[in-house]
């Protein structure tokens, strides 16, 4: 296991370096963009003097690298912010204060994150079961009618925009059949049962979109494995088709599925805007869109960093899982 521990450590260091690079790039890209942030923050009716004052308050006059230094300092050690009348302490990890509401960005994200995690976590379970299951079935029954029907359904799922699927689901399930109430976010801590019932439709809508790519990937990598020599060995030894497909071929499909899942989970946390909007889920994606609209840079930067963190983290986890699934990875 020594090799694996070393691998995990190396991968963790790599992830930290990537995150640092992302933070620099994100900071520079957003803060160095043209456009007068102070003017926008202050509002269209502000006098030049007021704009100037806002700029000073937001430290916009300092050079970029100094501001990035402050930002890093806040992230590691926390920071005090003066909001004109009072001083607000923002403890580490501090991502700054919102220009719009003077709220701490960290608190803002922490409030939204459970929603996004709930949505993506549940949807992931469904898209993995649906996608991998469809992929296995269609690899097994390749060329037959059942495979074509399955492939057709998953393709249709991907091709239909989420607001169409979501709306149809809502109209049918909640409106016509009245099986479920119209979704409304309930925190997991408040009432786990209501949490799950309210998330069923969002989960399904998001999962249907993602499932097809998993189905295709699983099918392709299983067919590839099925054509390999070691499958021929087991056939020649009388091992049953069920065991060949379920044990040997599926194992070969694990690695690419893990990799795809990592990127999808990471990006869905910040990118499921349509699903969040449609079902009124106050998640990260919705908040990010709002922050971009009002040029609330600390919120934008903070959220992009958090999303980046999840993408990097999910990929690092995927790499480790990959290595556990296939020990040859560690050696190379």
């Amino acid at each position: 296991m020594n090799g694996l521990t070393g691998f995990v450590l190396r991968r963790a260091v790599g992830a930290a370096v990537t995150l640092f690079a992302i933070s620099v790039i994100v900071y520079v890209v957003f803060y160095a963009t043209p456009g007068n942030v102070a003017q926008i923050t202050c509002g269209p009716r502000c006098s030049p003097e007021q704009v100037h004052q806002v700029a000073r308050q937001l430290n916009l006059d300092d050079p970029l690298f100094v501001r990035y230094g402050h930002f890093l300092q806040g992230l590691v050690a926390g920071q005090d912010y003066s909001t004109g009348t009072s001083v607000q302490h923002c403890s580490a990890p501090c991502l700054g204060l919102s220009y719009q509401s003077d709220q701490q960005v960290t608190q803002l994200i922490l409030a939204k994150l459970p929603v996004s995690l709930s949505l993506v976590g549940g949807a992931m379970v469904i898209w993995l079961i649906l996608g991998v299951g469809t992929g296995v079935l269609s690899a097994w029954r390749r060329g037959r009618i059942s495979e074509r029907v399955l492939t057709g359904i998953t393709l249709a799922g991907t091709a239909t925009p989420v607001f169409v699927i979501g709306l149809v689901l809502m109209i049918v399930v909640c409106g016509e059949l009245q099986l479920l109430p119209f979704p409304q976010y309930v925190a997991l801590g408040d009432d786990p049962e209501q949490w799950a019932w309210n998330l069923v439709l969002p989960w399904l809508s998001l999962a249907l979109i993602e499932a097809a790519s998993f189905a295709r990937l699983t099918r392709a990598s299983m067919l590839e494995t099925l054509a390999e020599d070691h499958i021929r060995t087991f056939r020649a030894y009388g091992v049953g088709e069920r065991s060949i497909v379920g044990r040997h071929a599926l194992r070969g499909a694990f690695a690419p599925v893990i990799a795809l899942n990592a990127t999808n989970v990471g990006s869905a946390i910040g990118g499921a805007v349509l699903t969040e909007t449609l079902f009124g889920l106050p998640g990260i994606g919705q908040e990010l869109v709002h922050a971009v609209n009002v040029v609330d840079l600390p919120v934008v930067v903070g959220m992009v960093l958090v999303i980046g963190f999840f993408v990097v983290f999910a990929n690092a986890v995927a790499d480790v899982l990959y290595a556990v699934a296939d020990r040859r990875v560690v050696l190379t």
């Binding site: 020599d229 060995t233 087991f234 020649a236 030894y237 009388g238 049953g240 040997h248 194992r251 040859r328």
Partner: protein, 530 residues
């Protein structure tokens, strides 16, 4: 009743008839070899014995009876009981023939449990037992290893162990030693021999290597174009063949005892290596691939470099042409320091499939060295490439064809033409014939000899096949673990080897004569004891 009874077997893949009316029998406990070149249909026959063509779209006609099962008519269930239970198959490439994700012991146990109603634990114990039986040291511990943690020879032993697990009456071995080094090949063949003596199982060996067949079986069936050419006891067929094709095949097999007439090499040294050394990796993981090798190559001579996989022979070859920078040591070409790539020192690669760009016509590939030298006139390039193609036995009109339109031997000729395009004085050939059939091998070797005489080329011939090296070389260097353990005129090294490793290598080469094979087997036992 015979163990195997095949009558009028015909296998068609679409329009291609791979096996065309083949009949043969194999008695209980006997051993038969199907010998033939690639495309002769021998592996197709092996697969047909286990009904492996079912569901693949191949059309199979005729009757195949194996261990009392009519393979053509048997139900899926009966076939599954036959496969692995009464007739087990060992495949060519032991790395790809095992599942990379599972421990070797688990894979053997899984197969065992298909045929025997036993607990997981008992199956696992059986796996360890058979692994121990085929000579895997510390079998209980090694059974938990995955295939990539085994060496090639050990993987092949593991596959044989899998075959043994259910005590089959018939073992079908499809090119079981083709991917292995010669000493490992000898060990695996000896193992098969011992197992057969002990268990009394029948053996059907599929091989392109007549020597391997001579070592292992009682009867030989020579196949060509899906038909039997000659069939009979091994001593008869190989000793006194009646069919022209069998004679041709045997004549093409390189022999240890057939020396070439020495070329009259002048003393002029073209390429000299002094203390060449090459390491890969850094720090603790550094591997020394070539270690303190010093060689001279004279004009018009052939220097053979033999060794097993991992001996550093390819690395040495690449350094000689300047494709790899030596870590230490120096190279001189015609007295001047030789660094980097030099048009006068060219290379012919092992795999004629992957060493030609499949997306470019062969003419374009051959023209590369000409263009690299600054030739710009299309007319002149075409003319020169045409000459080169004809020089290596192809046609000038082949310029616009693509690699896939050629056979393996023809592709290797293209590779040689490309090497010649730069007007080299030295050509390093890295395993130039190891991917080819014996008859094709012989033609390519002849071509290289002809070119050498006409153009006064100095050749470095890197190969693992001792017999081929003997045929083409004036001098030979034997490599082991990056070092040259023995070097000298080819006759001396082969007839009175000084180094024990050279002796071991020579004893491992399969002999064409079954009696000689038995002698060699005894010799190997002695060497193993010593």
């Amino acid at each position: 009743m015979s163990l195997v009874d095949v009558t009028g077997l015909r296998v068609e893949f679409g329009a291609l008839r791979a096996v065309d009316g083949l009949s043969f029998r194999l008695e209980e406990g006997a051993a038969l070899a199907l010998v033939g070149e690639s495309g002769s249909g021998k592996s197709t026959v092996a697969s047909a014995l286990l009904g492996l063509h079912r569901g693949t779209g191949a059309r199979v006609e005729g009757t195949v009876e194996v261990a009392g099962t009519d393979v053509q008519r048997a139900s899926e269930e009966e076939l599954r009981r036959l496969r692995g239970g009464r007739a087990a198959m060992v495949f060519q490439d032991p790395l790809s023939s095992l599942d990379p994700y599972y421990a070797i012991g688990d894979q053997i146990a899984e197969v065992y449990r298909v045929h025997a109603r036993v607990s997981r634990r008992a199956a696992r114990a059986r796996a360890v037992e058979v692994l121990d039986r085929v000579g895997i040291p510390d079998a209980a511990r090694r059974s938990r290893s995955r295939p990539h943690e085994f060496s090639g020879g050990m993987r092949q032993r593991a596959l044989i162990a899998m075959a043994l697990a259910c005590e089959p009456r018939l073992l079908i071995a499809d090119e079981p030693t083709t991917a292995l080094d010669v000493t490992v090949q000898a060990q695996v063949l000896d193992l098969l021999h011992t197992l057969r003596e002990e268990t009394g199982m029948g053996l059907l060996l599929v091989t392109h290597d007549v020597g391997v067949a001579a070592e292992s079986v009682d009867e030989v069936l020579v196949m060509r174009h899906g038909r039997a050419v000659e069939h009979g006891p091994v001593a008869g067929v190989l000793g006194a063949p009646t069919q022209p094709y069998t004679r041709e095949l045997l004549a093409a097999v390189p022999r240890l005892d057939a020396p070439r007439k020495a070329s009259t090499a002048p003393e002029e040294v073209v390429l000299e290596a002094t203390g060449l050394r090459r390491e890969f990796g850094r720090g603790k993981r550094a591997v020394t691939a070539v270690d303190e090798v010093s060689l001279v190559l004279r004009r018009g001579e052939t220097l053979g470099v033999v060794g097993e996989s991992g001996s550093g022979k390819t690395t040495l070859g690449r350094m000689l042409v300047g494709l790899l920078e030596p870590t230490a040591g120096s190279l001189t070409f015609e007295g001047r320091p030789h660094t980097g790539v030099n048009p006068a020192v060219q290379m012919v690669f092992q795999d004629p499939v992957s060493s030609l760009n499949p997306r470019r016509s062969v003419g374009e590939s051959i023209a590369d060295p000409l263009r690299a030298r600054g030739e710009r006139q299309e007319g002149r390039i075409r003319e020169r490439v045409g000459e080169l193609l004809e020089r290596v036995g192809l046609e000038a009109a082949h310029y616009d064809r693509y690699p896939h339109e050629f056979s393996g031997g023809q592709r290797q000729r293209v590779g040689i033409a490309r090497a010649l395009a730069a007007d080299p004085r030295v050509i390093v050939c890295d395993e130039p014939v190891s991917a080819l059939d014996v008859t094709t091998q012989a033609h390519v070797v002849d071509l290289l000899g002809e070119l050498q005489r006409e153009l006064g080329l100095a050749l470095v011939f890197v190969a693992h096949d001792l017999a081929v090296v003997r045929q083409v070389s004036d001098r030979v260097a034997v490599m082991r673990r990056g070092r040259v353990v023995e070097e000298g005129p080819v006759g001396e090294v082969y007839e009175s080897p000084r180094d024990p490793y050279t002796r071991q290598l020579l004893a491992a080469v399969p002999a064409l004569d079954p009696q000689a094979a038995a002698r060699r087997r005894a010799e190997r036992r002695e060497l193993a004891v010593a």
